[in-house]
């Protein structure tokens, strides 16, 4: 089978304007992937499926991955002028200090496609796509028109991660119910307060009961015995 570099140059030769970036995989599995920039994605997918040498006609697996905002601490050397007293005389001295600066790398959602070829019996070729951010620009082109097997898997990612697949023929929630609001597979998902009264609450259940009590009344629940019927 072709290497990722060869596949990258084949794509760029076949689809004008397509931008492909190789994402190396440092683990021993050696499954390196190709990141597609938005735009021309459907053309690239069609090329991969129909090219006589690649013939990646089988889309096996579609995965959503959440990469939340990341705070990065960097050490920077800064030169500044400080007033200092040297030998009883006040002087302006230049000084170099290391400073820790924090910046936030914006998060994004990623979708990973694993492609195989049934005809040529090779694979996997791994494709990745990123959304711009995790909130208002979380949309990506759907590959369901090219590979039907993405239909339910993209629906699942829409359901659990909130990626909106443009061009998907039937984009509804798959596993959660239709009125559900949040996206449970995101890293910052907070479980709702699904309090259930238990007569002998203990351990984690007791803790949850007390938290629930505090949220309702502003006062912590009684030790060992949460208020009965508070949730009704």
């Amino acid at each position: 089978m072709k290497t990722v570099e060869e596949i990258k140059s084949a794509i760029e030769a076949a689809v004008l304007g397509a931008a492909v970036e190789i994402v190396p995989n440092p683990s021993v599995s050696g499954q390196h992937s190709l990141r597609l920039a938005p735009g021309y994605v459907l053309d690239v997918a069609k090329f991969l499926r129909d090219d006589a040498e690649l013939k990646l006609d089988f889309l096996s697996n579609v995965t959503g991955v959440d990469w939340p905002d990341k705070e990065v601490a960097e050490k920077v050397m800064v030169t500044r002028t400080v007033a200092k007293t040297v030998d009883g005389v006040e002087q302006q001295v230049e000084e170099t200090v290391s400073e820790t600066r924090k910046r936030v790398e914006p998060g994004f959602l990623e979708v990973v496609y694993h492609l195989y070829s049934v005809e040529k019996k090779h694979g996997p070729v791994v494709l990745r796509m990123r959304t711009v951010n995790r909130t208002d620009q979380a949309d990506l082109p759907s590959l369901t028109p090219i590979w039907r097997s993405a239909e339910f898997q993209e629906r699942e990612i829409f359901d659990l991660y909130g990626v909106i697949f443009a061009g998907h023929p039937d984009l509804r929630r798959l596993l959660m119910w239709d009125n559900f609001k949040d996206f449970p597979m995101r890293r910052d998902y907070v479980e709702p307060d699904d309090f259930e009264y238990e007569p002998t609450a203990h351990d984690a259940v007791l803790k949850r009961a007390q938290l629930h009590q505090a949220a309702l009344t502003g006062q912590p629940g009684e030790e060992g015995r949460p208020e009965m019927g508070a949730s009704q």
Partner: protein, 394 residues
């Protein structure tokens, strides 16, 4: 608008440029009957719903509804260590826990590069093929049961399945929730007594297959109900990601045991049965033939089983932190391609843990196979897909 109506809304405009057969127009007065099959329908093998629109007895639309058994298996796995997910994988496809263990162990071994000793590889093959045998036997049993042959074939299949589950219990301590494999080997070794019992069971199984074959394969009712029903063309099957016996029943030669040769499968002689028509009968027949091939593999594996350790002595199974990276490992599970995709960020828990469930993806074309068929055949077509809801909903 009801939940039901939203499923069927504006389908026609969504269809453009989409690989899907033309919708069937209702004839007559065009009045449709909407039926919710499930979630408590006995033929749905669990909690699963099909919203069906019927014109008389013909199926005009069918929408599967999932999620009744959803517990977010993948989220749970992100919060616990790699090893702690192993018993959870038993609960995915609870008919075949061994192959779930195997796929997960394979993915982690790909991520970390751990080696598996010879004997462990042989034990994996032996247990994996026993699992395939009992899965196919019971899935045929269920299929025939849904056809109306109440009891007999299913009980025959379960009699044999019980023998295999007894072997599992003796080796692993549990009939179904086996938690048997580890990264870099297997948890316990098989004793000579167990191996002798396994040989006896394997020797007794061809008799059952012959009996099953004689009882069912040329049965007039079975042929009338299944031949030409639920046809699946090969091209659509590949495009829709269908795998396992369903794909091979449509005549596509793709068996991951042959293609990837994972473990030690390329040492064994076995054939890959293929179907011609891709109908329910072919799927039944492929499963029957695959059981025979499983027995061939079992006989070879039990004969060649080498001595030695079952765990890599250098393997570290607890508290290990794989280097950052990712791996996708897949095996030919009895229901199709079962894959695990893991991303490690260098921590003790997987950053992302994804199960590629064959049962869910094989259902993608359920509607295509059922359109235009009688509603009574929906039960058969669905049964011939062979799913387990623990894996569909995860």
């Amino acid at each position: 608008m009801s939940d039901f109506q939203t499923h069927f809304a504006s389908d026609s405009e969504k269809l453009e440029g989409w690989n899907r057969p033309a919708m069937i127009a209702p004839d007559g007065d065009g009045e449709l009957l909407e039926v919710a099959m499930g979630p408590h329908h006995p033929s749905t093998h669990g909690v699963f719903r099909m919203d069906v629109a019927l014109d008389g007895e013909r199926v005009i639309r069918l929408k599967p509804v999932f999620g009744y058994l959803h517990r977010n298996h993948e989220k749970i796995a992100e919060g616990i260590s790699y090893l702690a997910s192993m018993p959870y994988t038993d609960r995915l496809d609870y008919i075949c826990p061994i192959t779930n263990n195997w796929a997960y162990a394979l993915a982690v071994e790909k991520l970390t590069g751990q080696e598996v000793p010879e004997r462990a590889e042989y034990l994996r093959v032996i247990l994996g093929e026993l699992t395939r045998f009992q899965n196919h036997a019971s899935s045929i049993g269920f299929l025939i049961q849904e056809m109306g042959a109440s009891g007999t074939p299913l009980m025959y299949a379960f009699r044999e399945r019980e023998k295999i589950l007894d072997l599992f219990e003796e080796l692993t301590g549990a009939r179904m929730m086996v938690n048997y494999m580890r990264f870099g080997g297997c948890r316990v070794d098989a004793s000579p007594v167990w191996l002798e019992k396994a040989r006896q069971v394997v020797e007794s199984l061809p008799q059952f297959l012959d009996e099953f074959d004689r009882l069912l394969s040329s049965n007039e009712i079975l042929m009338a109900r299944t031949q030409g029903v639920g046809m699946l063309p090969a091209e659509l099957a590949v495009n829709a990601g269908v795998t396992g016996p369903m794909l091979r029943a449509s005549g596509v030669n793709y068996d991951i045991r042959k293609v990837d040769g994972y473990g030690i499968y390329n040492r064994f002689n076995f054939r890959v049965p293929l179907g011609d028509h891709g109908d329910v009968y072919d799927r039944y027949m492929i499963r029957l033939l695959e059981m025979r091939e499983s027995l061939t593999i079992l006989r070879q594996a039990l004969k060649d089983l080498p001595a030695g350790p079952v765990m890599d002595p250098k393997a570290k199974i607890r508290g290990f932190r794989p280097k950052p990276g990712e791996a996708y490992g897949r095996i030919e599970a009895p229901k199709g391609e079962l894959g695990f995709y893991l991303i490690s960020d260098g921590g003790p828990n997987p950053y992302r843990y994804r199960v590629r469930p064959p049962s869910l993806i094989n259902l993608t074309i359920l509607e295509d196979m059922c359109l235009g068929q009688n509603v009574a055949d929906v039960v058969l077509i669905f049964g011939s897909v062979d799913i387990v809801l623990g894996e569909v909903d995860r």
